[in-house]
C-alpha cells in the first residue's frame, strides 16, 4: 500500500475518521493503530505479519527481563539474545542467499563447486527498519536510557506504526513510546505542517518517478554518450532522493495529522560540504542509529577511530542490500569519511577548512556532491564491472557514441528536477512556519502541488527504499 495510491487514500480516510471521531480512548486507539498497521502491511504480504509480531514479543519480554536482571552477565546475555534474534531474522530473510552465493563463488575460485542452492526467500518489506527499531529498545533499556514499558499492545503499536513501518524513518522506542503513552492531541498547526509535508513529499516522489527512464538508459543498457551518462547518474541522485525523502516527508506529515512527531530524516543532503556532513543530512535516522548503537559501541573516536568508521559504513552499506555493490558503496563512503578526517587534521588545509568565503564553500559542496554521485553509481549499478564502466564513461576516458538530439533537453530537465527538489525542501525548512501562518499562500500552494501530482503521477511505481 503506497502512500500515493487511491487505496492508501481510502485506508487513511477510514483510519483517520475512526481514530479521531470514533475511538476516543487510549486503549482502543492503540488497538486501532496495531490493526490498521497490520492491514497496511498486509497490503504487501500478510504472511510476514507474524514475523513482525515475533520481533515485538521477543523484544518486549527481553526488555522487561533485562530491566529486572540484577547481574551484569545476565543483562548481557539477554541483550545478546535480542540482538541475535533481530539480526538472525535479518540474516535469514535478507542475507542468507547473498552469503550462500558468496561462499559458493569463493569456493569456486579454489576449484570447489558445492551444490548448495539458494533459499530464494521473499524479503519482507521494511524488515531492516523494524528490526533496527526493535533492537534500539532493548539496547536503550540495557544502557538504562529508558524504562521498559508495560503493555505489549503499546510496544507492538510502536513497532508497527504504519506511517514509518516500511521505509522509515527508523523511529526509536524512546521517541515513539512516550507519545503512545499520552496519545498526543493533534493541533491545527501540526496538521497544516502535515499537509505541507505530505504535499512536498508527494511532489518529490512524483518527480522521482519521472527519472527511471533516463536512469535505466545509463545503468541498464550499453554505453551511451557522455551527456546521457551524466544525465543518468544525476537522474539517479534525483530519483533516490525524491523517492526516499518524499516518502519520509509523507510519513512525517501523516504522523502529524494524527498528532505524532516523527523526526526529520533528510536535511538538504546534496548541499553537504563534506562526506561527514552528508551523513548528518542523509537518512539521518539510520546514520544516527549506526552512530549511537554501533560506532560508539565500537569505541567511537576514542580508540581505532578509522577502523570504527569503516566498520560502521560497511555495515551501513550492507544494511541497504545484500549485494557486493552495497558493501563497496559503504566502503567507499567509509574511505571518503576517513579521508575527510585525515585532511581535517592537516595544518596546511586549515585556511580552507575554516574559510567562510562562499566560493570555497561552494567548491566543497560541489566536490562532495561529485563524490556522492560516484557513490550512487556503485549503489545503482548492476555489478561492480558495470559501475567501473560508468565511472569511465562519466569521465570520457572511453570512446562513446554521440549524444542524440534530445539529450541536452533531458540533461537540463534532470538537473532542474534535482535543484527543484532541494529548492522546495530548503523553502519548507527555512520558511515553512511563515508559509503555514499565511493561509492564502499555504492552501493554494498545497492545492497546486496536489493538482500537479494528480495530473502526472505514476502511482504504480514502488518506493526504492522498500526493498531495504
Amino acid at each position: 500500500m503506497l502512500f500515493n495510491t487511491p487505496i492508501f487514500f481510502l485506508f487513511f480516510a477510514i483510519f483517520f475518521v475512526l481514530y479521531s471521531f470514533v475511538l476516543l480512548r487510549r486503549w482502543p486507539r492503540l488497538l486501532l493503530i496495531v490493526v490498521g498497521s497490520f492491514v497496511f502491511y498486509a497490503g504487501w504480504n500478510y504472511r510476514f505479519i507474524p514475523l513482525l509480531v515475533f520481533s515485538a514479543v521477543v523484544d518486549y519480554f527481553l526488555a522487561i527481563a533485562l530491566h529486572d536482571a540484577t547481574q551484569k552477565k545476565k543483562k548481557k546475555l539477554l541483550l545478546a539474545a535480542s540482538i541475535v534474534t533481530n539480526l538472525g531474522i535479518l540474516a535469514v530473510f535478507k542475507y542468507a542467499d547473498f552469503a550462500i552465493e558468496s561462499v559458493v563463488s569463493l569456493l569456486g575460485v579454489f576449484g570447489y563447486e558445492p551444490s548448495w542452492t539458494v533459499l530464494a526467500l521473499v524479503l519482507p518489506v521494511g524488515i531492516s527498519f523494524y528490526t533496527f527499531q526493535s533492537m534500539s529498545y532493548t539496547i536503550d533499556v540495557y544502557r538504562g536510557e529508558m524504562e521498559p514499558r508495560k503493555g505489549l499492545l503499546q510496544f507492538t503499536a510502536a513497532l508497527s506504526f504504519f506511517p514509518q513501518l516500511v521505509a522509515g524513518p527508523i523511529l526509536r522506542a524512546k521517541q515513539i513510546l512516550p507519545q503512545l503513552e499520552v496519545m498526543p492531541s493533534p493541533t491545527w498547526l501540526g496538521a497544516k505542517h502535515g499537509f505541507l509535508l505530505i504535499s512536498v513529499g508527494l511532489l518529490k516522489k512524483t518527480l522521482a518517478d519521472l527519472m527511471p527512464g533516463v536512469v535505466s538508459t545509463t545503468f541498464d543498457g550499453p554505453a551511451v554518450s557522455l551527456l546521457e551518462t551524466w544525465t543518468g547518474v544525476l537522474g539517479f541522485a534525483a530519483q533516490i532522493y525524491g523517492d526516499f525523502s518524499g516518502y519520509t516527508d509523507m510519513a512525517i506529515g501523516i504522523g502529524l495529522l494524527l498528532g505524532f512527531q516523527i523526526p526529520l530524516n533528510f536535511r538538504l543532503p546534496y548541499l553537504a560540504s563534506s562526506p561527514i556532513d552528508f551523513w548528518r543530512r542523509w537518512h539521518i535516522s539510520l546514520s544516527t542509529w549506526l552512530r549511537d548503537y554501533l560506532y560508539i559501541s565500537l569505541g567511537g573516536n576514542r580508540t581505532h577511530h578509522y577502523r570504527n568508521i569503516m566498520f560502521t559504513m560497511l555495515l551501513g552499506g550492507l544494511w541497504h542490500g545484500a549485494a557486493w555493490t552495497f558493501v563497496v558503496w559503504g566502503a567507499f563512503h567509509g574511505c571518503i569519511i576517513i579521508a575527510t578526517h585525515a585532511l581535517n587534521k592537516l595544518d596546511q588545509l586549515r585556511h580552507i577548512r575554516h574559510s567562510k568565503h562562499w566560493f570555497v564553500h561552494a567548491g566543497k559542496c560541489l566536490f562532495t556532491f561529485y563524490l556522492v554521485l560516484l557513490g550512487w553509481v556503485l549503489f545503482r549499478a548492476q555489478d561492480l564491472s558495470s559501475a567501473f564502466a560508468i565511472f569511465a564513461n562519466m569521465h570520457g576516458t572511453t570512446p562513446l557514441p554521440q549524444a542524440p538530439p534530445l539529450a541536452t533537453l533531458f540533461f537540463g530537465l534532470t538537473l532542474f528536477a534535482l535543484f527543484f527538489m532541494h529548492g522546495i525542501d530548503w523553502m519548507v525548512l527555512r520558511y515553512g512556519s511563515r508559509i503555514e501562518a499565511r493561509k492564502w499562500i499555504l492552501w493554494p500552494m498545497i492545492t497546486t502541488i496536489q493538482f500537479f501530482c494528480f495530473m502526472v503521477g505514476t502511482p504504480s511505481d514502488a518506493f526504492i527504499y522498500f526493498q531495504f
Partner: protein, 414 residues
C-alpha cells in the same frame, strides 16, 4: 480523573481544540481534493470540447453499442481489428459494392489503434453483451489478426495505457470483482474510470512517447521530407475543414459506422490535396522511419509472439463468433516493399495462425500478399492509404464475401 477543576477545564479545552483541528483537517482534505478533482476534470472537459481526443474512438465504439445492436432489415457485418482496419476499411464503399451485388448489408468499422488483443478482448465482450441483449447477430464478423500486435515487444510497449484501457473497457461488475481480488489495482482502475475522466496519470506523464516525431532520425533530408509531409497533411485538413466542416477520423461516428466521410463529395482540389499528402508520406525515408518505429515498438519483422496476447485474440474471436452467423479471421494486406518477413518469422506466423484456427474453429483468410493490393496502396509501412488503398481493399472484401453473405439467411437473429 482530573485532580482539580482547572485541570478538568484544561483537558476539556485541549479536547475541544483537538476535535476542532481534526474536523478542520477533514474539511481541508475534502476541499483540497474537491478542488483538485474539479480543476482536473474541468480542464479535461475543456480540452475534450476543443477537440482533444485521447480515447475518443474507443469510447465512441463503446458508446454506440446500442445502435450497433439495434435490429435492422439489413444484414450486419462487423469488421473488427486494429488501426489497419480503421485505415483500410470503408463501410460505405463495402455496403455500396454489396448493394451492387444485390445484398443489403450494413457494415461497421471497429478498427482502433494503440491497443492490443488484451484490451480488444474486453471490447468484444461488450459487443457480445450488447448483441445478446437485443438478440441480434452479425451476418458476418471479420476479425483482423494483426501479427505485430500480439508480440512480446508490443506487450511491453504502451504499458502506461494498460490500466486506462482496462478501466474504460471493463464493466462495473468486472471492476468490482477485480477490486475484491486485488484492491490496490481495482481502486486504481475505479479512480481512473470515475474520478479522472478516463485518463490515467501514466498516460499524461508519458504522452511524449506517443509522439513519433520525438523518436525520428535527425538527418536534414529526413527533416525536410517530414516537414513537406506534415505541410501537405495540414493543407489537406484545412481545405477539408473549409469545405466540409471539422472531420475527425479519430472519433467513431455512428453515421459513418466508423468510416470516413464519403470521398465522392470531395472537390477536385481537395482530392488533389489528399493525393499530395499521401504521396508526401510515401517518401522512402519516412517509410523507413515508420518501419523502424514498428520494429522497436512491435517487433513487426521478427514477430516473437506473446502467448497471452494470442490467447486474448482467440477469446476475441470466440466472443464475436458467439454473436455471428459467420466468423472469419483475416490478415490485412501487407506493404511488401517494407515489411519483409524472414523464414523464421514466417514460420512463427504460420504456427500461430494454425493455433488460432484450431482453437477457434474459425477459418483464416490471408490478404497479406493479395494480387489486387500493391505497395503504392499504402500510406506507411502498415496502413492502407486514404486515397486508394482503402477503396481497393473494401471492394476486395465485398467481392470475397459476396457469395457467403448471399448464402446467409436474412434472419440471423438469435
Amino acid at each position: 480523573m482530573p485532580n482539580t477543576a482547572s485541570d478538568s477545564a484544561y483537558q476539556t479545552t485541549q479536547h475541544n481544540n483537538s476535535r476542532r483541528s481534526q474536523i478542520k483537517t477533514v474539511l481541508a482534505a475534502m476541499i483540497v481534493f474537491g478542488l483538485v478533482l474539479g480543476v482536473y476534470n474541468g480542464i479535461l472537459q475543456l480540452l475534450f470540447s476543443l477537440g482533444a481526443d485521447l480515447n475518443g474512438r474507443m469510447l465512441g465504439e463503446m458508446r454506440y453499442l446500442p445502435e450497433l445492436a439495434r435490429p435492422t432489415a439489413e444484414k450486419k457485418v462487423m469488421v473488427f481489428g486494429s488501426s489497419m482496419v480503421q485505415a483500410g476499411f470503408e463501410p460505405n464503399t463495402f455496403d455500396q459494392a454489396m448493394l451492387e451485388r444485390e445484398v443489403k448489408v450494413t457494415s461497421f468499422n471497429y478498427g482502433i489503434g494503440n491497443l492490443n488483443p488484451a484490451y480488444q478482448e474486453l471490447m468484444t465482450r461488450r459487443i457480445k453483451e450488447a448483441m445478446q441483449s437485443t438478440q441480434q447477430k452479425f451476418a458476418l464478423s471479420l476479425v483482423e489478426f494483426t501479427p505485430f500486435q500480439a508480440t512480446k515487444t508490443r506487450a511491453s510497449f504502451g504499458k502506461f495505457t494498460a490500466d486506462q484501457n482496462v478501466a474504460l473497457l471493463s464493466s462495473f461488475l468486472e471492476l468490482a470483482d477485480l477490486t475484491l481480488q486485488d484492491p490496490t489495482r481495482g481502486l486504481r482502475l475505479l479512480n481512473i474510470r470515475y474520478l479522472r475522466s478516463g485518463i490515467s496519470a501514466e498516460l499524461i506523464t508519458t504522452i511524449p512517447q506517443l509522439i513519433p516525431e520525438l523518436d525520428e532520425p535527425d538527418s536534414l533530408e529526413f527533416i525536410q521530407a517530414r516537414q513537406r509531409a506534415n505541410k501537405a497533411r495540414s493543407d489537406y485538413n484545412l481545405l477539408l475543414e473549409e469545405n466540409h466542416g471539422k472531420q475527425s477520423s479519430a472519433q467513431w461516428q455512428i453515421l459513418l459506422r466508423g468510416g470516413r466521410m464519403d470521398k465522392s463529395a470531395h472537390s477536385a482540389e481537395l482530392h488533389e490535396k489528399m493525393q499530395a499528402y499521401v504521396s508526401a508520406y510515401q517518401h522512402p525515408l519516412i517509410m523507413q522511419s515508420d518501419l523502424d518505429r514498428r520494429v522497436r515498438t512491435a517487433d513487426i519483422l521478427e514477430m516473437n509472439f506473446h502467448p497471452p496476447l494470442v490467447d486474448a485474440f482467440i477469446n476475441m474471436v470466440l466472443n464475436l463468433k458467439a454473436v455471428s452467423a459467420l466468423t472469419e479471421v483475416i490478415l490485412l494486406p501487407r506493404n511488401t516493399d517494407w515489411v519483409v518477413y524472414s523464414l523464421d518469422s514466417e514460420k512463427r506466423l504460420r504456427e500461430t495462425l494454425e493455433y488460432i484456427r484450431t482453437s477457434t474453429g474459425v477459418p483464416i483468410r490471408d490478404f497479406q500478399t493479395h494480387k489486387n493490393i500493391n505497395p503504392s496502396h499504402f500510406i506507411d509501412s502498415t496502413h492502407l492509404s486514404t486515397d486508394r488503398g482503402i477503396d481497393v481493399f473494401s471492394k476486395l472484401l465485398a467481392t470475397t464475401y459476396e457469395d457467403l453473405l448471399k448464402a446467409t439467411p436474412d434472419d440471423v437473429d438469435q
